[in-house]
Symmetry: C2
Subunit: 231 residues, 2 copies
């Protein structure tokens, strides 16, 4: 068994840690114990323990008290899981008719059980989609992704017009609400007003009939990622 050997499959919890770390890392700094704990809704002490094991397996590198980074191997594993998750989300919505606010949970369960072959068959059946129903990019079978914009709707200046690229998928009720407001991948949004002191953000969905202006909290807007429309 060579040192390069990877394939032997990881446990569900391990895959969850890697996904969480990947996500946090993408958002900037190395992932800290605390952030991981919050993300996974477990105690920081438990994270410390698991971090040691992941480091021993060469999946992450750990600088004590300063956080954690994925190794190449760890990143590959994270991307495999992410691919499974996102292909599943696509398949569940497009083929099996799941509503977009409920695919996340189901995919979360299945991603640990589905084989690579199954996922590839689903991907093929779907024509190898590039984005999941929330706009997240799907890694290819050999671990390529181009993660998109990390500019959130909350950062757009007044009068800016942007296209929604991706919506954070973890909370079904928030998703449902966003959909109701017309905020979903592909929608064009104009920022009408931003109240001071973290006040609500007023916007209009472009090209929508009954386009009354609506307002959302900064915290919600920051889970919506957008790309600039005009340059």
């Amino acid at each position: 068994m060579s040192a390069l050997q990877v394939a032997r499959s990881l446990s569900g919890p391990v895959e969850d840690y890697l996904k969480a770390i990947y996500d946090l890392e993408r958002a900037g700094q190395p992932a800290t114990t605390n952030e991981i704990a919050i993300r996974l809704a477990i105690s920081p002490a438990s994270v410390s323990g698991m971090v040691r094991r992941l480091a021993e397996q060469g999946l992450i590198r750990h600088e004590p008290y300063r956080g954690v980074r994925l190794t190449t191997q760890g990143r590959r594993a994270a991307l495999r899981t992410l691919r499974r998750h996102r292909i599943l989300e696509c398949y569940l919505t497009e083929v099996l008719g799941y509503p977009w606010d409920r695919v996340h949970e189901e995919a979360e369960q299945m991603e640990h059980a589905a084989s690579e072959e199954l996922i590839d068959r689903m991907a093929t059946a779907l024509g190898n989609p590039q984005y999941d129903p929330h706009g997240a990019p799907i890694p290819t079978a050999d671990g390529e992704v181009h993660e998109g914009s990390d500019r959130s709707l909350s950062e757009v200046e007044v009068n800016g017009v942007v296209t929604v690229e991706r919506v954070h998928d973890e909370d079904g009720s928030r998703l449902r609400y966003l959909a109701e407001l017309g905020i979903r991948p592909g929608a064009k949004i104009r920022i009408v007003e931003k109240a001071p002191f973290e006040g609500p953000i007023t916007f209009r969905v472009e090209g929508k009939r009954s386009a009354s202006a609506r307002a959302i909290a900064v915290s919600l807007a920051s889970q919506v990622f957008v790309e600039n429309d005009e340059r």
Copy 2:
């Protein structure tokens, strides 16, 4: 939380035990510790331990040293898992193009992760099939099954003609071989000869062009379940 309450989902191993017990029970006597251990390829001591826990949860009844039986609740749980398994097998072969000798493994993994809703959506997409690709009957969503014949090909008398109803699905290479011989659900088989002393069984597949007679071991024939053709 009432005493009747059931739904809270069971762990993968627990579901596997219940399936195994269901299967063994169907084949006659109450399931013994040893048989369960062999079926699940674990040590008898481990089974003893799990049996205690299952009994505490009211899923089985245990008469020490004499075996184990499912309670109504346990049977319901077993049938739910079996339904998941078999619907998955159908879906994987019919929709995703899996070869019939490999669906079992994949379904085995997924059956513990897939929600009831997902399974029902798959079932609907398939038109609520009654049998899986190996001829096993699929329990309905509310726990009805009519288990078919338990007469095996090895019990058919010489010159008897039978229709294959179901083939035991656990071993891919055996399945592949049986398929090669033309033994699959629906096939009509005539027994040509039975050698004495557990000797091989010679048969012919009816209505098959190049129908040369072939022979299989009793042990293999006993994994093929049949119904009588002539009465």
